[in-house]
Structure formats: structure tokens, C-alpha cells
Amino acid sequence: MDIKELTSLETSGKKTIQELTIAGIIFVFFIIPWIIPSFRVMDVLAKIMIFTIAVASFDLLLGYTGILSFAHGMFFGIGAYSIALILYHSDTPSGYHIFLAAGASIAISVVISLMISFFSLRVKAIFFAMLTLALAEFAHILGVQWSDLTGGADGISFTLPGIFNFGQTLGTLFNTQINGRLMVYYFILVIAVFLFTGMLRFIHSPLGRVLKAIRENEQRTIALGYKTFRYQTCSIVFSACIASLSGILFAMWLCYVNPDSVFHTAIMVNILLMVLIGGMGTLYGSLIGAGFFIVTENWLPGLLKSIAGLASDSVILANMADRWQLYFGILFVLVVIFFPKGVIGTFRVILDRRHQLHSS
């Protein structure tokens, strides 16, 4: 295990800068709804927060443990569906239902992720990837076909209880309406910060360090006397729970779920792309990855359309503008081949190199 990598962001001088940056980011997320009272901006920020958590939880698995599980998006969907179903079926939705949903989704996630990790012990990594991919596809099909429970492809819409109810207005402050949606926004902010801190604690705990050792060299870690399977199980279960909680936040923000929006493999591919952009094994990269992806996802189609509008008679150009996801795919391939370490990772390599130059 590379000690420098572990401590590179923990040296005392850098630490204060790092803490200030984090505080600054949280402050920006806190203040923006007051500065720019636009629903679109708030929507993008909320999704960035939600996906930062989902992506970071996936990074725990991929970047810190070296396990590629395509079933991770499934846990996101499990979370989203558990809150949707509980609130949809309860006659008088109230605050405790949210906790009930959190409890239920964690319980389901723990059971399924334990089963998955049991199989992962028995099969090779590449087999594991296939197995989880098949499982994820299965979950999507189940979501569509088991329509008695899930409402099929049409999905379920529901209303949030108490202060989170979107229809409710509590008054105005500094020209900004304090309504249910704003309350949900801050709820997401608080939970996201809480979960992200939890994950940071997780990777810096002794357990997290063992996981890194497993990623670097599993045989050696076994030889050192660690029961690697137990540690890997811990990380699979932990990250599955976090992913399902981020799914709950996602469903709360949209007040609607359907199989395509939470179970589709495209979600998984998006999460993968976000991890890769930010950099595997760099928890902070998830914020950059999610930020970049969601901002471009929101504004790139419009931009392309306006470019295509310049030559309005060209059908091919209009077609190319419509297929903005194509550029994401190409970007994805390029990132994997040329920047496998992502933004934060590449940045760290450059910093390291400069450090080495100065010291020598």
C-alpha cells in the first residue's frame, strides 16, 4: 500500500485548506437558493448532492475495494422504491414514514448485499461483474413486470408528509419563498453532508485501510492474517446501504419513481462515468464527477440545439444535437483510456511529481 497516497491529503498544512474548501462548498450549496431563486438551479444542485452520495458510495466499492458491482444502481432503486411505496400506501403520511422507509431500504439492502457478497467470495472478479449485471437487469425487468407492487412502467407518484409537502408554503424570507421543496433541499443537504462525513470516516478507519490493502494486493493481505472476505463484505454492505439512502433522497426530490429512472442500467453507467471523471479511489472526486455530469446533462442538450439552430435546415446536425448522450459515451471511453485516474487522481499525480521535483 502506498503510504504517500494515504497521507497526501492529511498533512497539517493542507488540512486546513481542505477543511476550508469543504466548508466553502457546503456554504455555497446552502446559500445559492437565496441568491439565485431559480427552480432549475436548485434542481441541479439537489441532484448533484444526491449523486455525489451515490457516486461516493460506489467509489467505496470500486476505488477503495476494487470490486466492480453493476448491482449498485439497484440499491439506489431499492431506496427510491421503498419510500415511494411506503408513502403511496400510507393514508396519512407523516415524518416517521421517512424513517420507516430508511429502515426498510437499509434492511433490504443489507440482506441482498450479503447475498451478493456471498457469491462474490465464490467467483472470480469478472464473473462477479457479470453476475451483478444480470441481477441489475433482472431488477429492472422486475420493476416493469411486477406491476401490482411497483405500478409497472408508469411508476408511482406520491406526496411528502409535513413540512416537506411541496404544496405547502411557510412564508417568505429575503424574497425567497420558504416552501416544502426548499425544506427538502435543506434536508438533502444535511443528510448528504452527514453521509459523506460517514464515508470519510469509513475510509480513514482501520477497516478502510485494510480494504485499501486488499485492493493493492489481496494475497498479501490474506497472508498478513486478515480475513479479507469479512472486510469486503463490510464494504459491500455499507456502500449498498448508503446507495439506498441516496435513492430515498432522489425519490423525495422528484416525488415520483419509475423503473427507467431508478433501475435502468443507464443510471449505473452514469454513476460509473461520474466516478471515472472524478477519479476512482478519491472520495472527493465524486463531487466533481457528479457536478460535471449533471451540469452538462442539463445544459449540453440546450447548447447543442442552439448550435444546430444556426443551420436549421440540416437534418443531420439536428440529429447529432439530439443525441447528446453520444458525446458522453465518447468522453467515457476517452477518460478510461487516457485519464484512468480522473480529475482528482490526475491532479494528485501532478502534485506528487512537483513534490518529488522540489525535494530532489
Binding site: 467467483v123 469478472i126 453476475l131 444480470a134 441481477l135 437487469e137 433482472f138 453507467v269 440529429n319 459515451g329
Partner: protein, 336 residues
């Protein structure tokens, strides 16, 4: 050394060798309790033909993995691409007014045209993909998985760009819309064609792998690339060839499935990828025989269960996969 002991064990205990087959065949007679013989035979024919279609896509996947140690998640995209290529050829023939009046022989000829076009298109796309992308990530499983996910994304978006996002109806040559009846069992001609094509391709693959020099080189390359290189073979071209062959198989499977379902849509690959993955996992990564047997198992069990308990069909395949993985973590025919 491990393989040595295994070989001798099976040789000394013939019963164990056949026990699996006996139990397996017994399980497949089980549905007879719930249905009459005619239904059973109809479902069996349908199941085997579905299995053969799945074999086409699974064999390419397992071939590429077996030699190149690359799990190609873009395989589903090659499948969809092939479906569209075949669809385009059939559409052209349809515009010429030849599809609706085709006799069985003419239908077969048109099918061959569509499959040939799909195979060439799929193989060509495979060569491009291997030369541009895959060759940069040999030896790194994680990067291979990620990069092929990206490629699949790109191909599917290109499909949408070229052919549009909607489902399209595939014109089926008239000769295939007929059926014949044997022992009261209603059998469509196209199912027979599918079974025949599947078995033929299985036989060709087996012949190439077991009997020809190319097959020896390929199998040797799976085991030890260093020796093959040092003997004077340009293994990178052999890799490209295998990747192209795997992609062509996926594309041919795509066209067959497009005719089978009489429809194409850009996302069709993912629906069948799940079958192919299950088949490859059941049969063992890298084994063509394994994916043949696996495909028959999946096709049959899917059809039986879909008839008895429609909603359970896919779930049963998952259960079979889980059980086989618990008994044999490397699949039925998997090697170390």
C-alpha cells in the same frame, strides 16, 4: 497438477460423470406432470429454438472471453447493431416487393443475405473496436469492463442517430410465416431454421477450434501467449480476428432475434444480454460447449416456466444460475 487429479477422478468414477446428465434430463421431463405431451413438445421445440438464438449471442461472448480474457460488455450493442443491419437488408428487399411473395427457398436466400450483411457489418465494427479501443486495455479487467460499457453506450446512441429511437417492424419473408404439423405439434419453419443455424454454427466452431491449425493457435493463445508469440505467430491479428468473429456472431444472432420477434429497437441488446450472461455463467466462461448446453437449458426452462407460471420465467433462470454457481463456481464446463 490440479487438472491432472481432476481428470483421473472422473475417469475412475464413471457414474459421477453421467449422474449430472441423468439428473438434468430428468429435470427437463418434470414439466410433463403439469401439461399434456403435445404442449410439452411444442414448448420444447420453441425452447430449443430460443436456446439456439441465445447460443449465437452467448458463443461470441464466451469466445472473446476465452481467448482474449476480455469480457466485452459492448456485445449487446453489437447484437443490436446486427439486428439493424439485417433489418435494413430485409427492408430493402421488402421495398422491392420480394418479401411478401417469397417461397420457402427464396425466404432462406433472403435470410442468408440479411445474415451475411449483419455478419459483415458486425465483424467490421468488431475489427474497428478492437483496433481502436480494446487493444489499449488488454490485461486490465476493470478497464476492459469500463471501456466496453462506454463503447456500448456509443454504439447504441449511433443506432438511435441513424435509425431513430422508435421500435420498427421487421418484414418477415413470407416463407417463414408458415408452419407444419408433426404428431399434432405445430412447428413454425423459422424455428427449424433457428435450430439448424445454431447447431451448424456450434459444429463449425467446434471444428475450427478442435481440428484446424487456427483453432490450435487460438487454444494455445488462451493458455500461454508467450509461447505462441515466440513460435512466430502474430497474436495481435489473431486477437482481432477472434474479436471480429465474436462480434459477427452477435450480429447474426441479432438479425435472427429481430426476425423472431418481428421488431427491432435500439435498446434490444440489453434484454438479451441478460440471457447471454446467464448462459455464459452457467456454461462456464470461455467454453463453447458450455454455452451451447447453457443456452439449451435457459431456452427450455424459460419456455416451460413461462407457460406454467408466466411471471416466474426469468426468475427461474436466475435460480438455476445461482444453484449451478453454488455447486460449480466456474460453471458447468468452466476451467481454471
Amino acid at each position: 497438477m490440479k487438472t491432472d487429479t481432476l481428470k483421473f477422478q472422473t475417469r475412475n468414477r464413471p457414474f459421477q460423470q453421467y449422474a449430472g446428465w441423468i439428473i438434468g434430463i430428468g429435470l427437463f421431463l418434470l414439466p410433463l406432470i403439469q401439461m399434456d405431451l403435445t404442449t410439452y413438445l411444442t414448448l420444447t421445440v420453441a425452447g430449443i429454438s430460443l436456446g439456439m438464438l441465445i447460443f449465437l449471442i452467448a458463443s461470441g461472448l464466451t469466445l472473446i472471453f476465452g481467448l482474449m480474457d476480455v469480457l466485452n460488455l459492448a456485445h449487446a450493442a453489437f447484437f443490436a447493431f446486427g439486428a439493424y443491419a439485417g433489418f435494413t437488408v430485409l427492408n430493402l428487399l421488402n421495398n422491392a416487393g420480394w418479401i411478401d411473395t417469397a417461397s420457402l427457398a427464396q425466404s432462406l436466400f433472403y435470410l442468408a443475405l440479411a445474415l451475411g450483411a449483419a455478419g459483415l457489418a458486425g465483424g467490421g465494427l468488431g475489427i474497428l473496436t478492437e483496433k481502436i479501443v480494446i487493444k489499449r486495455v488488454y490485461g486490465n479487467h476493470l478497464m476492459q469492463l469500463l471501456v466496453t460499457v462506454g463503447v456500448s453506450f456509443v454504439i447504441v446512441e449511433l443506432l438511435k442517430m441513424i435509425w431513430g429511437v422508435n421500435d420498427e417492424v421487421v418484414p418477415v419473408p413470407m416463407g417463414f410465416q408458415d408452419a407444419f404439423i408433426i404428431f399434432g405439434v405445430f412447428i413454425e419453419y423459422f424455428r427449424v431454421v433457428a435450430i439448424f443455424l445454431g447447431i451448424t454454427i456450434f459444429a463449425i466452431l467446434q471444428y475450427i477450434l478442435k481440428q484446424t491449425k487456427l483453432g490450435i493457435i487460438v487454444r494455445a493463445g488462451v493458455e500461454n501467449q508467450e509461447i505462441v508469440k515466440a513460435t512466430g505467430y502474430n497474436i495481435s491479428w489473431i486477437f482481432t480476428l477472434v474479436f471480429a468473429a465474436g462480434s459477427a456472431l452477435a450480429a447474426i444472432g441479432g438479425t435472427m432475434m429481430a426476425i423472431f420477434n418481428q421488431a427491432v429497437d435500439p435498446g434490444m441488446g440489453n434484454q438479451f444480454l441478460i440471457f447471454a450472461l446467464i448462459v455464459v455463467i452457467i456454461g462456464g466462461l470461455g467454453s463453447v460447449t458450455g454455452s451451447f448446453v447453457g443456452a439449451v437449458i435457459v431456452g427450455l426452462s424459460f419456455n416451460y416456466v413461462a407457460f406454467l407460471w408466466p411471471k416466474m420465467a426469468l426468475g427461474v433462470n436466475f435460480m438455476i444460475m445461482a444453484i449451478i454457481l453454488l455447486i460449480r463456481p466456474k460453471g458447468l464446463f468452466g476451467k481454471d
